[in-house]
């Protein structure tokens, strides 16, 4: 059979499949019959493409078949969206186990808190490092801090608290995601973490100075949401570092496979960090600025620390034990 006859026989099939692909790509409403028909047509066209060479079809037709099969393939094997059902296992089993003994998270912890403590000390001891706080924060930020915390915390409107919570979600989670993403290249990531650690540390040190106005208000404000927020920063940096390290020390895998495996482990950790950021943002928006007595805010901080310990240590050990069995 010559190409011309073959074409005449098959062209209707192809045109029909072409039509259905266009329809399927804009709407997902179709009857079972249509699905069956689509699959049958797709298989037929696959067969035509497989035999295109033997059929001696002209190259233009073959490349048309390539494109047609590709488009039909993507309508048949579709993206599944976000698999919410697998998330609970991911968050309550995989993430704690992954984090518990992760050297990168430990490194990020030491790196972040070390720089934080250093910056806090240097900003506090104005007599030893006279220009440190000025250089790190800048006059404007320092003035803004004093103004913000100089007056006692006021009771805010609910709507205003919602706005602040939204701001913290947007701002802090954004920083966390940036830490995570840029740690892929190690150096920029470490710079971002360093920057944030120095900033936050310097603010703490500066506000702790006896001559600064608003010291008490400041510490009253930051107590409640501190555990969640700072842990989330460390977690996102640690997850990012795990990725950045994975493609350098591949442990025998190809770089591509090593990074793929690390991604599978670390994206859920970043997800957990985002949940922590959201939690911190709500505490920061609603509890931290409120007029609740300080012990209650302290209790919130203790409770959230306990939740964190329970999550990472208890669940982590349990996951390890269940994996060992």
């Amino acid at each position: 059979m010559k190409a011309v006859e073959r074409l005449a026989k098959r062209q209707q099939n192809w045109a029909k499949l072409d039509q259905m692909v266009e329809k399927f790509s804009t709407s997902l409403r179709f009857s079972p019959l249509q699905v069956v028909q689509f699959a049958a047509l797709y298989r037929a066209v696959c067969a035509d493409l497989a035999l295109a060479d033997a059929y001696q079809l002209p190259p233009g037709t073959i490349s048309y078949l390539h494109r047609l099969v590709a488009r039909a393939h993507h309508q048949l094997y579709r993206a599944k969206g976000l698999a919410f059902r697998t998330w609970s296992r991911m968050f309550f089993n995989d993430v704690p186990r992954q984090v518990l003994h992760d050297r990168c998270v430990q490194f990020a912890f030491v790196f972040f808190w070390g720089l934080f403590a250093l910056a806090a000390f240097m900003a506090y001891r104005d007599d030893l490092f006279p220009k440190f706080a000025d250089d790190t924060l800048g006059e404007a930020v320092m003035a803004q801090m004093e103004e913000m915390y100089g007056t006692p915390l006021k009771d805010r409107e609910v709507s205003e608290r919602v706005m602040m919570a939204a701001f913290y979600i947007q701002h802090n989670t954004g920083i966390g995601l940036q830490c995570f993403a840029s740690c892929l290249l190690l150096v920029p990531g470490l710079l971002v973490v360093k920057f944030n650690a120095l900033q936050i540390g310097a603010v703490f040190g500066y506000m702790a100075r006896p001559e600064t106005a608003g010291t008490e208000n400041f510490f009253e404000f930051v107590t409640a949401h501190g555990p969640f927020e700072l842990t989330a920063v460390v977690l996102s940096a640690g997850a990012g570092l795990r990725l950045g390290v994975s493609w350098m020390w591949t442990r025998g895998y190809s770089r591509r496979d090593a990074i793929r495996r690390a991604l599978k482990d670390t994206l859920p950790v970043m997800g957990a960090a985002m949940v922590l950021f959201f939690g911190a943002a709500f505490i920061e928006g609603f509890i931290s600025p409120s007029l609740l007595p300080y012990p209650i805010k302290g209790a919130v901080a203790i409770l959230s620390s306990m939740i964190l310990v329970a999550y990472f240590v208890v669940l982590g050990l349990r996951a390890e034990a269940s994996d060992a069995v």
Partner: protein
């Protein structure tokens, strides 16, 4: 073609895509950013009318957060690898193994866009504004993405490399067709091509490409291109008449794709030609002047 990526499907056949280049993808990205910008303005206006000042601000901040970090991920996960910008340019994100992207892949490749857009130039450089400590406050230079796309096969940016994805073009090509070349001259010439002449795969492809495109070529150029084949052919079969090279290629095309080699078929053809009838053209096949 160096811009083709091959994939083997569960049906056990291999097919090819055209991979999208960096600048097509940049256009799609800018289009998406434009859409995000318009959406934010709409949210701002709508919330300003409907809600109190603080709540309106909260809604705006949350929309900024969601659109900035999750716009691409949500669309790609639920729209089968396509965002509105990509849809407009007929691009699609797929796994390198040819399957659809998973939710994690879609999320990951959009988070790592932050790295791809590096280095961020602080706005201080342009307007003397003190660079904000975070957020997309600088101007992206896209250098990492450009570098990674040039250095890898299939123009993959860092986010693609990490998540094992690539972006392809979904072309709707022209309808498949056989060129209508069956004039009496061509048919009679085709019958003079000896039965022993076997057409190789590459020759078949070359002849088809030539005939499909010859309407764009000037007569001189046609002669120039076709001459080589005719000379080689006449070297092997000296008894073949010396005709216009272009005509020879048409005859070869006819012989390869349209006429059957079988004797009786040829006789039938001859009969039809004698009666002045032509081989029935396919619907939609364009006429080719000979």
């Amino acid at each position: 073609m160096d811009t083709a990526a091959q994939v083997v499907t569960p049906e056990n056949i291999a097919f090819e895509y055209r991979v999208a280049g960096p600048f097509l993808r940049l256009a799609a990205l800018l289009l998406d950013w434009l859409i995000i910008g318009v959406l934010l303005i709409l949210v701002r206006i709508a919330s300003a009318f409907l809600l109190s000042f603080a709540i309106a601000n909260a809604v705006l901040l949350l929309s900024v957060f969601i659109l900035m970090w999750f716009y691409g991920a949500l669309f790609e996960a639920y729209w089968n690898g396509v965002t509105p910008g990509k849809a407009a340019l007929r691009l699609r994100v797929i796994s390198t193994d040819g399957r659809a992207v998973s939710g994690l892949q879609a999320f990951g490749r959009n988070v790592f866009r932050f790295v791809d857009l590096m280095p961020w130039v602080p706005l201080t450089v342009f307007w003397g504004i003190r660079a904000e400590t975070s957020g997309f406050s600088g101007a992206p230079l896209f250098l990492v993405a450009l570098l990674s796309a040039t250095l890898t096969r299939n123009y993959r940016r860092v986010g693609d490399l990490v998540c094992g994805t690539m972006v392809i073009v979904e072309e709707r090509e022209w309808r498949p067709q056989i060129m209508h070349v069956a004039t009496p001259t061509v048919v009679s010439l085709a019958r003079q091509i000896p039965d022993t002449f076997r057409v190789s795969r590459t020759l078949r492809r070359a002849v088809a490409r030539y005939v499909e495109r010859r309407s764009h070529l000037s007569p001189e150029r046609r002669a120039e291109m076709a001459r080589w084949l005719l000379e080689a052919f006449r070297g092997r079969y000296p008894q073949f008449p010396s005709v216009a090279p272009d005509l020879f290629l048409l005859a070869l095309y006819y012989r390869i794709f349209i006429a059957d080699r079988d004797r009786d078929e040829a006789i039938l053809d001859q009969h039809r030609v004698q009666q002045g009838a032509q081989v029935t053209p396919l619907p939609g096949a364009p006429k080719v002047a000979v």
